[in-house]
């Protein structure tokens, strides 16, 4: 877990004091909205469709029980009793009042959290594999890198007014669970001849111009990582376009200049930057690593797990979908689904947050993670404790066994909350999840990632969904476009548009046709949706999505 030193605590306290005064000046009329807006955005405060929204950074999705309880307290004290976990491992409060926000920020500071750089043209919350430090396939824990980057990028004077926002993700495993190829910079820990280093990917991103990132350097040594990344951001900060916000992200810079030219410019810059680092960063990195050394694992019998697995089909179903292999014998990684059928993806009530905090403390070495897939992870749970954990989750309506299945949908807030949205996302996710639960088909369907965005900015990652859904406003009516074949992992791919969009009424039947089509088209029950799509391509899926007119009329 990260730790604030006295400078961090003083910095956050000072920023909070400044913001409190800024709010007072806005309320008194001393500041206009034009003057106040950039100040509130620097502190994560947006004005959305129905209310203000406070976006709080959860550093690389890592929490302990005290922090989770404080998030619950804030939700109850100053919001409507819940929070929304996002695809960037943040939490958003949808209903704060302007005058309450300074108190909310002070409450966050009590547990070493803040909302700084969750908006604006800055380096945003660095995200990481939500199984970090626990995954069986991990080469090294990505969190120390993410923490090093967080300390470096927070209030970095060179990077406060960049051409556009900048997002960095890190994975320590060859299996990419952090969508690193759809970030401005993606970092993957690699090992070469026994030495740990980093593959650096640049120029990925979703939004209106989706791009898969390109490898700019396949092996950056540990001592070079920070100066190298600073060089990348610095080059873009200089040559990135400021004339057009839609062409300002580094993905466009890489696309326009070519990866080879960017690589050469970064190398040039690196030669200047590197001598200035003088090893302080390397010493800090070593110190940070000690803060993430991992829990003291215990040895005990797995008998309770085996008995429950054998005797309780509900537990077995949950264990089969919601557990992931842990690096430590006897342990499992638990994914707690925030996707109960019919509920809002990513939302947790204050009571649920407290339950998860209690369970983390009791069974999970006091660690929790937020995944970019909008679920909560208990990364270290001994298998012996899983039956008791499952029973407690059931009581809190947190035991839905659907991780990776069709109802485990990523959905942005969409037009139910977001001022930028062009259509709703949440009700579409709710309808799909409810329908496939009624059909009792989701386990038969197997792994299938549906991702829904309510506008072209793609916060719901629709481009990299096996099935992507993009909500648009077509002549004053909500309309939903389907993309197929997207992939968010190490084999990242942008989905291909299937054809004309569907109305809000027609999108659920369309998804049903698509899924039934897949069940007919797959080579075996082992072949997943994405594998079938890759084998047979778009055309057979198009045929089921857009049947001849009489077939539609007959439905």
């Amino acid at each position: 877990m990260y730790r604030y030193n006295e400078f961090d605590a003083a910095f956050v306290a000072e920023r909070n004091r400044q913001f409190r005064a800024q709010v007072e000046r806005r309320v008194s009329g001393a500041l206009t909205e034009d003057e106040f807006k950039p100040l509130r955005l620097m502190n994560g405060l947006y004005l959305q469709l129905h209310a203000y929204m406070l976006r709080v950074a959860i550093p690389y999705g890592t929490l302990d029980s005290a922090r989770m309880r404080q998030l619950a307290y804030i939700a109850e004290r100053w919001d409507k009793g819940y929070g929304h976990f996002t695809t960037r491992q943040n939490i958003q409060y949808n209903w704060p009042k302007l005058k309450d926000v300074p108190d909310m920020l002070d409450a966050l500071a009590e547990v070493e959290m803040h909302a700084i750089q969750t908006s604006g043209n800055t380096i945003r919350n660095v995200t990481a594999d939500h199984f970090a430090g626990a995954a069986a396939d991990e080469i090294a824990d990505p969190r120390p890198i993410a923490e090093l980057l967080r300390q470096w990028s927070t209030d970095h004077p060179e990077f406060q007014f960049m051409p556009r926002k900048f997002k960095i993700a890190v994975t320590g495993s060859p299996n990419d669970r952090a969508v690193i190829k759809a970030h401005d910079i993606g970092i993957r820990v690699v090992e070469r001849d026994g030495e740990i280093g980093y593959e650096v990917v640049v120029g990925g991103g979703l939004g209106r111009t989706p791009m898969i990132g390109k490898v700019i350097n396949d092996f950056v040594a540990q001592e070079d990582l920070l100066p190298y990344l600073e060089s990348v951001v610095s080059v873009w900060n200089q040559i990135g376009r400021r004339d057009n916000k839609y062409k300002a992200r580094i993905k466009i810079t890489v696309h326009e200049h070519g990866i080879d030219e960017i690589r050469a410019l970064v190398a040039e810059r690196f030669a200047l930057v590197k001598p200035r680092f003088e090893g302080v960063d390397a010493a800090l990195f070593e110190e940070i690593k000690t803060h993430f050394s991992g829990p003291d694992f215990v040895q005990k019998s797995e008998a309770p797990f085996k008995a429950a697995y054998h005797e309780d089909p509900v537990f077995r179903s949950w264990a089969d979908t919601n557990l992931t292999a842990h690096r430590e014998d006897g342990y499992a990684i638990v994914s707690i689904s925030l996707k109960k059928h019919g509920q809002t993806p990513g939302d947790a009530s204050a009571d649920q947050m407290r339950v998860m905090a209690d369970l983390a403390e009791r069974f999970g070495h006091d660690e929790l993670r937020i995944s970019h897939e909008q679920n909560v992870i208990l990364p270290h749970v001994h298998k012996a404790d899983l039956p008791a954990l499952h029973a407690a989750l059931k009581e809190a309506e947190l035991a839905t066994a659907n991780i990776g299945l069709i109802s485990d949908i990523i959905a942005c807030p969409g037009m139910d909350y977001c001022a930028l949205a062009t259509a709703r996302s949440i009700p579409i996710a709710q309808q799909i999840a409810t329908r496939f639960d009624e059909l009792k088909l989701e386990h038969e369907i197997g792994e299938l990632k549906i991702k829904i965005s309510g506008c072209i900015n793609a916060c719901g990652h629709h481009h990299v969904g096996h099935i992507g859904i993009l909500g648009l406003d077509r002549a004053g009516v909500e309309n939903y476009q389907i993309t197929l074949g997207g992939d968010h992992t190490e084999t990242a791919a942008i989905g291909e548009r299937a054809g004309p969009g569907f109305s809000a009424e027609d999108i659920l039947p369309a998804i049903e046709r698509l899924v039934h089509g897949y069940l007919d088209l797959r080579a075996s029950s082992e072949e997943t949706f994405i594998e079938t799509f890759r084998r047979i391509g778009m055309e057979p899926f198009k045929a089921v999505l857009y049947p001849p007119a009489p077939a539609v009329a007959a439905e």
């Binding site: 806005r26 309320v27 009329g29 206009t32 909205e33 004005l47 959305q48 469709l49 129905h50 209310a51 203000y52 100053w78 409507k80 009793g81 819940y82 209903w95 704060p96 009042k97 302007l98 005058k99 309450d100 809002t344 009530s349 037009m415 139910d416 909350y417 709703r424 949440i426 009700p427 709710q430 406003d473 004053g476 009516v477 909500e478």
Partner: protein, 114 residues
Amino acid sequence: MPKPFTPKVVTANHLLEGDVIYQTADGWTRNLAEAEILLEQADADMRLIEASQQTDVVVGAYLANADASDDGPQANHFREEFRATGPSNYFHGKQAGALPGPLNGQESHNPSRI
């Protein structure tokens, strides 16, 4: 050729509460049905300017399309419908009870919970 003018209301977010408000003949309301319907371009432009000057009450004033009806202005685009009623996933936006009548700017925190 410019589009013919269609009826409008002036809407914004409340500075302190952040919620959706509408201009009335002599103030602001949280209910679209109580808003002043503007039937002429010049009138709408003038009322928007007046609204935008009230920076101590409102943020982001703009003209929204609306249909005139016997029950007051009605939204005619889904975005404005959601703004007028609240989110569709929980019954805790305006649909949970936007207070009728003029607003005084000092409303207490809405205690509704999911």
